[in-house]
């Protein structure tokens, strides 16, 4: 829906496309805390943050 909250909290990870849809620019760009806040703040609950397998 393009609220832009994720971009507000983790600007180097998320951006909004011209159509208002979210784009992941770089999943490693922001720290974990910023990603957590961005996911919590998504008003439609569209963001899930999972940790990549450290061995993988």
């Amino acid at each position: 829906m393009g609220s832009g909250n994720c971009h507000f909290w983790a600007a180097t990870t998320f951006d909004l496309g011209d159509d208002g849809r979210v784009v992941v620019l770089d999943p490693d760009a922001d720290d974990e805390e910023q990603l957590r806040v961005a996911a919590e703040g998504c008003p439609v609950g569209a963001i899930t943050v999972t940790r990549a397998d450290p061995a993988g």
Binding site: M1, G2, S3, G4, N5, H7, F8, W9, L16, G20, V37, E40, G41, P43, V44, G45
Partner: protein, 416 residues
Amino acid sequence: MSTFADAVTTEEPVPFDPFELQDTVAGNVVDPYPKMAELLAESPVHVGPVDLGAGADPSFSDRPPPVTVFGFDECVAVLKDNETYSSTVYEGVVGEVMGRTILQMDEPEHRMARALVAPAFRSKVLERWEAGLVRSVVDGLIDRFVDRGRADLVRDLTFNFPVQVIARILGLPGSDFPRFQRWAIEITSVATNWERGVAASADLRDYFANVMAERRASPDDDLISELVAVEVDGERLTDEEIYSFLRLLLPAGVETTYRASGSLLYGLLTNPDQLQAVVEDRELLVPAFEEVVRWEPPVTVILRRATRDTELAGVPVQAGADVALLLGAANRDARKYEHPDQFDLFRSSRQHVGFGFGVHVCLGMHLARMETRVALDTLFDRVADLRFDPEPGQDYHIHGLAFRSPLALPVAFTAR
């Protein structure tokens, strides 16, 4: 057509007494939060009238019993389920004064209508207003009082800057600001003076009709030019939709920001260590603003109406029942937040429902964030040693029930 470089320092603010508005519109309640916490501890959802200190509303007697939601998770659940919980509840009073707006629409109409206005409120688009517009408005207001060493930051700053910012974003000429601010006050206080509010609504319609005709003839870099030109998937806004949306900007975009910025200053002034931290590191204005929208949301309650019989946290909700979501209570839900009643910009969870949640989440949140951040950043550049300095007996606490903010912010400072 004005440019945004217009000086705004020549217009005097419209004489206005926030006390007058607070007592009637907002409810003269100093602190409803202990009562909210007590009721939340009993149950996150209550059926039937509740008394938060202003008396229970008996007007529901012939309708399904109203439901009041206090819990954080329960508020989020209602706001996510916008089929069961409809926004058409706003068709009544708000719809009559403002006209048909996204506030009262359900899906899929809401999604299409919001898509037309949303691009203008994205954070990247708003950046262009930051330095030249918001900062210059705030600097102009500070110029008037900075040499005095004392001020009431409500009267002298927070009450005035959001309306001037909106007026300039709309591209209105500086000479129109006084009457625009008067209409803003009149339409926002419609609950206390219905006829005056409705008259202001009609005046604003005529005024905007003229401005829109001008912008169609010669578009400029302003929101009205954008709204008359916008097109998404072949859909355009009708003139009536634009009038309604622009009218809605006054209560939605002016009053809330005035209240939130005042409460943020209050939160910082009553916590001098946090004020000091923010003055030294302005990046902290970002979490500080989020924290005030959690701690003292300017709008403490929003409404939905149940479209079917359902159940919330085990409590039955009848079809047709008005459902009041106490965002203020949810934002202090002790099941979610530690020391929920403290203003703490360093708290770990920054999630809150002060802007609402779900598809109707506040469209103007990025504007509110940017405006308030720039306003306080500018203030801290101009004054040092900011501290409360009330007259003997002066009441400057945060007041209100549905809408809350400080009555006054009497301060002393040293000009930098």
